[in-house]
């Protein structure tokens, strides 16, 4: 079937069987390289995307469900100015997640910052539930999200002035 999507701001017409998982469709037909496939249960979060504004696991979405959807992948997120808040906090803490989980972690941090201006520990840990890569310690993760949130607040204040 033909599936219209808006991927990172560009309209695309993809041809796919309806039951293909969106993660596989984006990787094969749209050549998205940041997506990881591992669990196919929506738990590992390597295939996180923003789907109509919400962070979801794209392995749980069949292609037919993506018709007319707005999708932002890590490639699209990288073009946003706000991403620098997160990358700057990574630099400050010398935090360098592994290649497997880096896109998923940054997407998740961005979704936290969109929901909470000053996230609490439990909100951060709840959002990261399922991402258990050993490349990151819990304390580093909490610190980097909080520091990113500080930068984000500063950016918003500066914009309002």
């Amino acid at each position: 079937m033909k599936i219209n999507i808006n991927l990172n701001g560009k309209d695309l017409l993809l041809d796919s069987p309806p039951e293909t998982r969106l993660v596989d469709l984006l990787k094969s037909s749209a050549k998205v390289q940041s997506l990881r496939t591992s669990c196919y249960k929506g738990i590992c979060r390597g295939c996180s995307i923003f789907f109509n504004g919400d962070l979801v696991s794209s392995c749980l979405i069949p292609a037919f469900q993506a018709r007319d959807a707005e999708i932002i992948t890590f490639e699209g997120l990288k073009k946003l100015e706000e991403i620098n808040d997160i990358l700057r906090s990574f630099d400050d803490l010398e935090f360098d997640p592994c290649d497997f989980c880096r896109p998923g972690k940054i997407m998740t941090i961005h979704s936290i910052l969109e929901s909470y201006s000053d996230p609490e520990d439990y909100q951060i840990l709840e959002a990261f539930e399922g991402i258990n890569c050993s490349c990151t310690s819990k304390s580093t993760l909490l610190e980097s999200v909080k520091r990113s949130a500080q930068y984000r607040r500063r950016r918003r204040r500066a914009r309002n002035i």
Binding site: P17, E19, K41, G42, D54, L55, L60, F64, G130
Partner: protein, 292 residues
């Protein structure tokens, strides 16, 4: 069934998808295609299949774009939630009005990325197991609106499945709204262990609703969810607790614990040994949680 790949001379059969844009259109499509499966978030069906190309029903009606099914409405006496409302949206919109136990149970649907697509109606209609929200809504005496073209009816949530765990919707009917009465409950607790989808035999949930006034338990309900086809309640034990003054005397506490233990040990078909062990400990937790 849809193709799973394979031999060259076998033609691939793809699912046929309908995309209604409003409720009337949906009811009309369902009337003409009674075998078509309703696709809401699809997290249950997709998450259970490990293959790259999951098996989907031959005919599917995608309901995620129907505004009538996403509405959340509050009146003085109850909260009404559209069956197609996404769990995280319900948590955000209803954060000040959702009953505590329901909100706790929703937050325990993990990870959050799943809550961004899973819907309340989809969660309740999962055939194989009664998931967490079902047991909470059942204790709260919630009711469901079932619609078909040209008619609708309300049923108690406990009537959604029969004794064998089969869904009691006619082929042309769909679940459209969930009505949750605002109860008198002033102590609501929901806890769960494990994921009922992936940890069958281990997953367990407990829900307690209590109305306590001046230290006296006026009403009390509790249920155990075992990732099976039914939720488990012990009305006798509930009656034993109702009317008691808090804190329990040691004699009362031991009588309640003993009654609970005997009941749990009799549930050899419903609970695995692990679940029985966990459930027996549950009563000590209840006694502690009920204290002011």
């Amino acid at each position: 069934m849809p193709n799973t790949g394979g031999e060259e001379d076998v033609p691939e059969i793809y699912s046929h998808i309908f995309y209604p844009s409003n409720l009337n259109e949906l009811l009309s499509i369902k009337n003409k295609n009674p075998d078509a499966a309703i696709w809401s978030g699809g997290t249950g069906l997709m998450g259970k299949q490990k293959s790259k190309r999951p098996n989907l029903p031959i005919s599917i009606i995608q309901i995620s774009k129907i505004p009538e099914l996403k509405k959340i409405k509050r009146t003085e006496r109850f909260l009404e939630i559209g069956a197609g409302a996404v769990i995280n949206k319900i948590l955000n919109v209803g954060q000040h009005v959702l009953p505590t136990a329901l909100s706790q149970a929703m937050r325990l649907i993990k990870p959050t990325a799943i809550r961004n697509i899973a819907t309340l109606g989809g969660h309740l209609c999962v055939q194989e197991t009664r998931l967490n929200l079902f047991s909470v809504l059942s204790l709260m005496d919630s009711s469901l609106e079932i619609k078909k073209q040209g008619g609708s009816r309300w049923i108690q949530i406990n009537r959604l499945f029969n004794k064998n765990g089969e869904i009691q919707l006619k082929e042309n009917e769909i679940l459209t709204r969930i009505r949750i009465p605002f109860g008198k409950w002033n102590r609501e607790i929901f806890k769960s262990n494990g994921n009922p989808f992936f940890d069958m035999g281990k997953a367990l949930s407990f829900c307690i609703l209590a109305e306590i006034e001046k230290g006296i338990i006026n009403d009390f309900r509790m249920s155990i969810g075992n990732s099976g086809k039914h939720i488990i309640r012990n009305i006798e034990l509930e009656s034993l607790i109702i009317g008691k003054k808090l804190p329990f005397s040691s004699k009362e506490a031991s009588a309640i614990s003993q009654k609970h233990k005997e009941w749990i040990q009799s549930l050899t078909l419903e609970l695995t040994p692990f679940q029985r062990d966990q459930s027996i400990r549950f009563i000590y937790w209840i006694i502690k949680e009920l204290l002011p």
